[in-house]
């Protein structure tokens, strides 16, 4: 080859190879999405919001593990077996710290992921070409979801860094308790004013924020912060929507069948066998479970029975009044795979089958929606608020009776039998029977001031006041020097 041809071909090759060097090193985005176009459609905004919804839902294995602290730190439930036992042991013994259990860190992160996505929606929705009415609703949804995430955070850790935008410094101090309360109150109140009622818009899916859900959260928030009048009022407001009512049969309330028919579940974390799933029953099945004695709920090949054993204490099982149908969701004896009848009594070993097995379950995942706020809770919350405000009243007893009646306890309570204190205790007991396993117990004990004494009574001698709040995850403390740890940790 002659030199000049070689050189010119090399030159040409070089030119072809390296032409346009300036943009040669730009990154090409193919399968991810460019934020500049994402917020230009209602679909784009909605899907960012949907992720906010998702991160504020405590479902799946995550739900089973984390949310159980609300029961394991209390008096009704305990746990043995399975990998989760390492975390459960710490919660049962009150020996947790800022680094462990690790699942709490995940919960913290999920809540703040939800907050972040809601903030993104709130920051971008105004500039997007979406009609105004929709804008207002999307904003109300985002504020509701964000507040629901903060509600979880507040319940676990007390006041936390209150992030309401995605800009600003990475480090942020915790809000004061007053700021936190003002925020939650305002967000839920404002959202309740804008959000549609359940069923009002046909295309508005079940599982999205409603006026009732906002009022439900408001009721629970007022209840747990002991703002009794506001609690009673918010509950009343919710009742007055006329939408909600108790499902007549407690034993089927949590089944997949009832999901689309009932009008009791004010707020849920929706679940499906295809995911996100409800995994509570997997840990509730006793060893070698084949079916209940009456043949209900046979174990199916598409289901799982975990090494984990979520067990109920005998005292609680024995505390139900005779005829209380709510006890029917607790399994105390069963048929095992060998066809033998096995009793679970007297070993603190009865099992809550509240989320009744989904015949269509796929492996770990069952389709039962997870109840977060039930109408029964609203009724009992109003009853409790009324008692705190004015002492025992017939209205309060009637509210309680609605719940008891559904459980098959038709004999009403007698007003004359109660003082304010004894009715308070009665309501606490009633809540125990009604809401066991629904992750409300810790809140109820805290509100009644018995969380610590109750633990000490269980011979958890190291329990003291600092355990009323959990330690902020160490990862946050390490990375956020402005964020102070809760006292005692």
């Amino acid at each position: 080859m002659k030199l000049k041809y070689f050189l010119s071909s090399v030159l040409l090759g070089t030119l072809l190879l390296f032409s346009g060097c300036n943009n040669m090193l730009d990154e090409d985005v193919y399968s991810q999405l460019d934020p500049s176009t994402l917020f230009n459609s209602s679909n784009g905004i909605e899907r960012v919001l949907f992720s906010g919804y998702r991160d504020a839902q405590i479902t799946g294995n995550f739900g089973g593990n984390i949310w159980f602290q609300e029961e394991w730190t209390c008096d009704q439930f305990w746990e043995t077996g399975g990998a989760v036992n390492l975390q459960a042991a710490v919660m049962l013994a009150f020996t947790w710290d800022a680094s462990y259990p690790t699942h709490w860190t995940t919960l913290w992160e999920n809540c703040y992921n939800s907050v972040r996505n809601c903030n993104l929606v709130l920051e971008n929705v105004d500039a997007s070409p979406v009609e105004d009415a929709l804008k207002e609703r999307l904003k109300a949804e985002a504020r509701f979801v964000r507040a629901s995430a903060y509600y979880i955070l507040y319940t676990m850790w007390g006041p936390v860094p209150l992030r309401i935008s995605t800009t600003g410094d990475l480090e942020m101090a915790r809000a004061t308790d007053a700021e936190m309360q003002t925020f939650l109150e305002k967000e839920f109140t404002d959202a309740a004013a804008v959000l549609p009622n359940w069923g009002e818009i046909s295309s508005y899916q079940y599982g999205r924020a409603t006026k009732g859900a906002a009022l439900g959260y408001l009721t629970k928030f007022y209840l747990n912060t002991k703002q009794w009048q506001k609690c009673a009022d918010a509950a009343k407001k919710l009742m007055d929507t006329g939408i909600y009512q108790l499902w007549p049969d407690y034993t089927t309330l949590f089944s997949v069948d009832a999901e689309t028919k009932q009008k009791e579940l004010v707020w849920v974390y929706p679940c499906s066998p295809l995911g996100p799933g409800n995994e509570f029953i997997n840990g509730a099945y006793p060893p070698s479970y084949a079916s209940t004695v009456d043949g209900r709920w046979p174990f199916l090949p598409n289901q799982r029975n975990w090494a984990r054993m979520d067990r109920l204490k005998d005292w609680f099982f024995n505390s139900f009044a005779p005829g209380d149908k709510r006890k029917d969701l607790i399994v105390s004896e069963y048929i095992n795979m060998a066809g033998k009848k096995i009793s679970l009594l007297n070993q603190d070993n009865t099992r809550s089958f509240k989320y009744t097995p989904d015949p269509a379950a796929v492996s770990n995942d069952h389709g039962n929606d997870i109840a977060v706020i039930r109408y029964a809770d609203i009724l009992l919350s109003r009853a409790e608020a009324l008692n705190e405000l004015n002492g025992p009243s017939q209205e309060a007893l009637d509210l309680i009776q609605m719940v008891r009646h559904r459980a098959g306890l038709t004999t009403p309570l007698v007003l004359a039998n109660f003082t304010k204190e004894s009715l308070r205790q009665r309501i606490l007991d009633e809540r125990g029977w009604e809401f066991y396993g629904e992750k409300l117990r810790r809140q109820d004990l805290l509100r009644n001031g018995t969380f610590v004494s109750n633990a000490k009574a269980r011979r958890v001698t190291i329990a003291d006041d600092h355990h009323k709040l959990f330690p902020i995850p160490q990862t946050e403390i390490t990375a956020n020097t402005l964020c102070e740890q809760n006292p005692g940790y």
């Binding site: 990998a83 042991a89 975990w306």
Partner: protein
């Protein structure tokens, strides 16, 4: 021309010392045998035809031209041969003898062609072999190995009298005065002077000039003589590499090079290895070295990352390098210091491994077949409780007061003697390999072609790995041009039995096999695989046969290059390469398994393509500056683009299992799911290097690479990576000579910067990806989440390295040694900096933090015996100290994740080794209630529980009582090879060792914290557990084992993983052949691998690392180790 001689002669001379008959050098060997036995075969000289045109040139010029054009080289004594005579010559298509006849016509110069070597002598001095005069002196010249050396110049000092040894190494010199001194010279050997002192016979042994030093080694974008190296480079020829079954090329290197830590992360066929050169320099960016195959930097990320739905996760994926046939490799150079690696800039920080495949050799076609077959037997299985002990001990625990275990979990009976589940899963397995290679060439064209078939069955039933590959390396040289292709293509088929960190029903067959109830028989009364509702584990055999994963991988890689000599000493080279990988993985979960039944079959097909192409133009200028000084300058530009595309589809609800993934349309349409992705990244780089050799004493090297990467932030697109090195050949100085210690001595020093850009794409820009699916109104909706906080300032991480070293030769160069000290400081570390997770992000990729690695590396090669029994030893050992020196404002980071029950295993803390194990110290077992009361502990402990050390004295053992328990990076590693040769036998064995290293034994974690009562576990702790009758101080009672919460990472489970091991041994025999009618040579051998290990580690194998991250060793569900014996043969035709 010098290169040709220096490249050829050492092979010629070393051949008798090297590990014979196993290698590429067979061709040379065969040649030599041919010469000695005077075989009349068609030689190179007869086949090669040359064109020459020389006007007014000297004879010397003509000889040089012949050397440039061919593989001939000339040996002569310039005093005897008139080489400055002017000649005019024009020949076309002539044999060398014809040309030489023309060239020396009418002169007294005669020649003798011995293959490629042409010895010129003068007829006037007489032919030493024939002239038998009275005062003659005879003798024989041999190499240090005792082999005759033909062609050695023998001259009487101060005269022109002399001769050249014949093919048998014999010489005769006449008219020698009795007091004369003879000078023996031979290129590549040390010139030797011997005083005759009246003797009439003198036998001389010549010593190689510098043992091994004149090899040419690849340094990236060029080569350099080993003696001229300024940087720290480990160069391994084929014969230096590991013997036995090695499915990947990294297996060839394990333990063989100082400072290179290679871990067989998974023992499965084709299993992945992790390679770490001089420690871990990064927390978040990759720590793999860059691999360059024949000038093409290849990329080794997995083509397919997914495992398939409900298929257990694989922690250590198969190595993509396994698609490159190890037997095609001629040599491997490992570039370690910054001077050597800076030419690879932003990819050089973790070291560079240069792979050179075999090149063709000229002459008649040589065909070589090599093959072996072997048997692998599983060894060192984790011993779990046998059925009787399982029943007895578990029931005893259940009956102990304080146990939480309910009566329903009592072990009742043993069915048909029970089952050893691990044994059911394992078998002895066969491995075989067959290679056929062809090499030859003429008229400037050389080729090497090979075909290979490799088939390894795994000891875990149904696992296996198959590879078919072929290669063609072709090279053509003309006057001004050299061009060629290196091209290989391979197909591999993987039968993966996944063994990862997945647990419970999601766990692998091996995981289930270790935990499954041993009292059960394999099948139930209906003949189905037995399951038990006592355990959330599937039947191990059902998992083995019911969850299948097969992958087909196709990889084609090649380079096409053309090098043009523009002027004398000035060349330009264009190199174009591509690497194309395609994979398809089919996984199916049948109704044999719980998952398969729950979903009515699950099939997943994953496909992926990863391609990259390279365009590169370099130019080299080489100038001889006289007085042994020279300058070489290289510069160039290179561009590489990487394109990745993936697709995956899953179907469930198949009416029957039979069609598996071959008819996905049979699945339930409502349950289909699919995903896809596409991305690319690009590198644009400018490179330059200058080598200056002053007086052959002082060597200077300077390099610079400018790398632009699409992965870096807009504010930092280009990085600059300079390096400089200096070497001083000290042995020629009198003050060194007078020491009488060194035959050779070279000092080296280098400093430079390299980078690491291995962080994934998009980190500098904001994008949205998909979040978790949400369920609304009974419908699943895809969601969007922001993927990261963008860092537009993001850039490469920089590693600054200094290296000082000596290369030494002792005892007539029978011992050669190298010692290096290095310090590697990584700064602007690519660090996933934790940020407050309350921002909605947990971290931001940043350039923050420093890590320092430092250490010594020693390599010693010694020829202990050189007589009939030869004994060579090569030893390398290295020390490594790794220390995190800065992680910004963060005080520490705790590594999360690993096995299900084990989290928070390691810590990154300033002053400590990266990922140091972090957990609890123990101090025996609580023996009595009194002891507990007296200690004041508030923890819920009872006699028989493990006594964890309360470091801060607050009477509660919680996470603030954790301390550093050890590290995954060994302090000291060693490799020792011994080779013995006697007559036709050769014995080679290799020992490797590591110390100062720990590993988390996660099987032990599951033993201390069983997931459920009925899970089986390691036997030894339970057979010796604490009871009132047996107050053990070593093992607890295991009653309510998790009562103290999660203390999984402790000095009970983080074990010393130091070991010393007889890794391999090989005995080979060269069959003596009466004639060569059929075979040119026949070599048979037997070899064994994993023969003996000495260790305190209680798991399977201290050297494994199923975590796949070389700076954090975790042993969990590791693929069984096997001992392998192979029988092999090599046939040359």
């Amino acid at each position: 021309m010098k290169n040709i001689i220096s490249r050829t002669i050492p092979e010629f001379t070393n051949i008798w010392n090297s590990k014979l008959f196993m290698t590429m050098r067979l061709t040379v060997l065969a040649l030599l045998i041919g010469i000695i036995q005077s075989y009349a075969v068609e030689t190179y000289a007869q086949m090669t035809r040359l064109n020459l045109e020389a006007k007014n040139s000297t004879v010397k010029d003509v000889l040089n031209k012949i050397e440039e054009q061919s593989e001939f080289f000339f040996l002569y004594n310039s005093k005897l041969v008139e080489v400055n005579r002017e000649v005019n010559l024009e020949v076309k298509n002539k044999k060398i003898t014809e040309i030489l006849d023309i060239l020396f016509e009418g002169t007294n110069t005669t020649y003798k062609v011995v293959d490629r070597q042409i010895v010129l002598t003068s007829s006037e001095m007489g032919n030493g072999f024939e002239a038998q005069q009275q005062k003659s002196l005879t003798g024989k010249v041999t190499s240090s190995a005792g082999d005759p050396l033909p062609g050695v110049t023998v001259v009487v000092k101060g005269t022109t009298t002399g001769t050249i040894t014949n093919a048998d190494g014999n010489f005769v010199v006449s008219n020698v005065p009795p007091e004369a001194t003879l000078v023996f010279s031979f290129v590549g050997m040390k010139t030797q002077e011997i005083t005759i002192a009246g003797n009439t016979t003198i036998d001389v042994t010549l010593i190689e000039d510098a043992f091994g030093i004149d090899e040419v080694v690849a340094i990236g974008y060029g080569t350099v003589k080993k003696s001229d190296l300024t940087g720290s480079v480990s160069s391994l020829r084929k014969e230096d590499m590991n013997t036995g079954v090695n499915s990947t090329m990294t297996g060839l290197l394990q333990g063989k090079a100082a400072g290179v830590q290679i871990t067989q992360a998974s023992m499965e066929p084709g299993g992945g290895t992790t390679v770490q050169i001089r420690g871990a320099g990064s927390v978040n960016a990759g720590s793999d070295p860059l691999y360059v195959v024949d000038g093409l930097p290849i990329e080794n990320s997995q083509v397919i990352s997914g495992n398939g739905t409900t298929i257990p996760g694989v922690s250590v994926p198969r190595s993509p390098l396994s698609s490159i046939n190890p037997s095609d490799i001629e040599s491997i150079e490992i570039l370690k210091d910054a001077s050597a690696t800076a030419i690879y800039g932003a990819r050089g920080a973790n070291g560079v491994i240069l792979v050179t495949t075999k090149k063709g050799s000229s002459g008649a076609m040589k065909v070589t077949y090599s093959g072996y077959t072997g048997i692998q037997t599983p060894i060192n299985m984790i011993e779990v409780l046998n059925p009787e002990d399982y029943k007895r001990i578990l029931n005893e625990i259940l009956d102990t007061p304080g146990s939480n275990v309910s009566q329903t979990e009592r072990v009742l009976d043993i069915q048909n003697g029970g089952t050893d589940w691990q044994k059911e899963l394992l078998e002895s397995a066969v491995v075989q390999s067959h290679s056929l290679s062809f090499t030859g060439g003429n008229n400037g064209t050389k080729y090497f072609a090979s075909l290979n078939y490799f088939d390894q069955n795994g000891v875990l039933k149904t696992s296996g790995y198959e590879r078919y590959d072929s290669r063609l390396n072709l090279e053509h040289r003309t006057n001004k041009m050299l061009f060629g292709v290196n091209f290989s293509t391979s197909y591999t088929h993987d039968n993966v039995v996944p063994v990862g960190f997945s647990t419970n029903e999601e766990g692998s067959s091996l995981y289930a096999g270790r935990g499954f109830d041993p009292t059960l028989s394999v099948f139930d009364e209906n003949g189905a695989y037995q399951t038990t509702s006592m355990l959330n584990l599937d039947n191990p055999l059902a998992l083995l046969y019911g969850k299948t994963s097969e992958t087909d991988n196709y990889r084609t890689l090649g380079t096409l290059f053309g090098e043009y000599t523009i002027l004398k000493g000035w060349t330009a080279k264009l190199n174009v390469g591509f690497d194309s990988r395609n994979s398809r993985r089919d996984t199916y979960v049948s109704r044999l398994t719980k998952d398969g039944r729950a979903n009515s079959g699950v099939g997943t097909v994953l496909t992926g393509t990863r391609n990259n192409y390279l365009g590169e133009l370099t130019t080299t200028y080489n100038r001889d500056l006289g007085e042994k000084s020279s300058l070489t300058v290289m510069g160039g530009i290179t561009y590489q683009k990487f394109i990745n595309i993936n697709f995956a589809g899953t179907g469930k609800g198949f009416p029957v299992d039979e069609s598996k993934t071959n008819n996905m349309g049979l699945g339930d349409a409502a349950l289909y799911s699919m995903s896809s992705s596409k991305n690319n990244n690009k590198l644009l780089s400018y490179i330059g290097r200058a080598n200056y050799n002053l007086l052959d004493k002082f060597l200077f090297t300077a390099t610079l690479r400018v790398d632009g990467s699409s992965r870096f932030g807009t504010n930092n697109k280009y990085g600059y990576f300079p390096s400089g090195a200096f070497a001083w050949k000290m042995s020629d100085y009198d003050f060194i000579k007078n020491l009488n210690v060194f035959n050779s001595l070279k000092f080296r020093a280098s400093i430079g910067r390299t980078g690491n850009q291995d962080i994934g794409n998009f980190l500098s820009i904001t994008t949205f990806g998909s979040g978790d699916v949400v369920l609304l109104g009974g419908q699943q909706y895809v969601t969007f989440v922001p993927t990261r906080i963008a860092n537009p300032d993001l850039k490469w991480e920089t590693t600054e390295q200094i290296n000082v070293g000596f290369d030494m030769g002792f005892v007539k160069n029978r011992i050669s040694a190298s010692i290096d000290y290095f310090e590697k400081n990584t700064f602007d570390m690519l660090f996933d900096l934790p940020i407050p997770s309350s921002t909605g992000f947990t971290s931001i990729m940043s350039n923050i933090g420093n890590i320092k690695n430092s250490g010594f590396e020693f390599t010693i090669d010694s020829r202990n015996l050189t007589g009939k029994l030869k004994w060579n030893t090569s030893l390398n050992f290295s020390t490594l100290k790794n220390s995190v020196t800065d992680i910004g404002d963060i005080s520490e980071i705790i590594h999360t994740g690993a096995g299900q029950s084990t989290s928070q295993i390691a810590i990154i803390r300033v002053g400590e080794t990266i990922n140091s194990f972090y957990g609890y110290k123990t101090d025996g077992i609580w023996q009595t209630t009194e002891e507990i009361t007296a200690s004041g502990t508030k923890d819920p402990v009872k006699p028989g529980d493990v006594k964890f050390v309360d470091q801060n004295g607050d009477h509660v053992v919680n996470t603030s009582d954790r301390v550093i328990l050890g590290k995954s990076i060994p302090t000291l590693t060693m490799g020792l090879t011994n080779t013995f040769e006697f007559k036709n036998f050769q014995l080679n064995f290799f020992i490797d060792a590591a110390s100062g290293v720990n590993m988390l034994n996660n099987s032990k974690v599951e033993t201390y914290y069983p997931v459920s009562h009925r899970r089986n576990r390691m036997a030894e702790p339970y057979l010796n557990c604490w009871t009132l009758e047996n107050p053990s101080t070593e093992y607890p009672s295991f009653v309510n084992p998790a009562g103290q919460g999660n203390k999984a990472v402790s000095d009970l489970t983080v074990e010393d993983a130091s070991y010393i091991r007889l890794k391999s041994a090989q005995l080979s025999y060269m069959v003596p052949l009466r004639n060569k009618k059929i075979f040119d040579h026949v070599n048979v051998y037997v070899s064994g691998q994993n023969l003996y290990t000495l260790t305190n580690y209680t798991g399977q194998d201290p050297s494994t690392n199923s975590n796949g991250n070389s700076s954090l060793k975790i042993d969990f569900n590791s693929y069984p180790v096997s001992r392998t014996f192979t029988l092999g043969v090599e046939l040359g035709f």
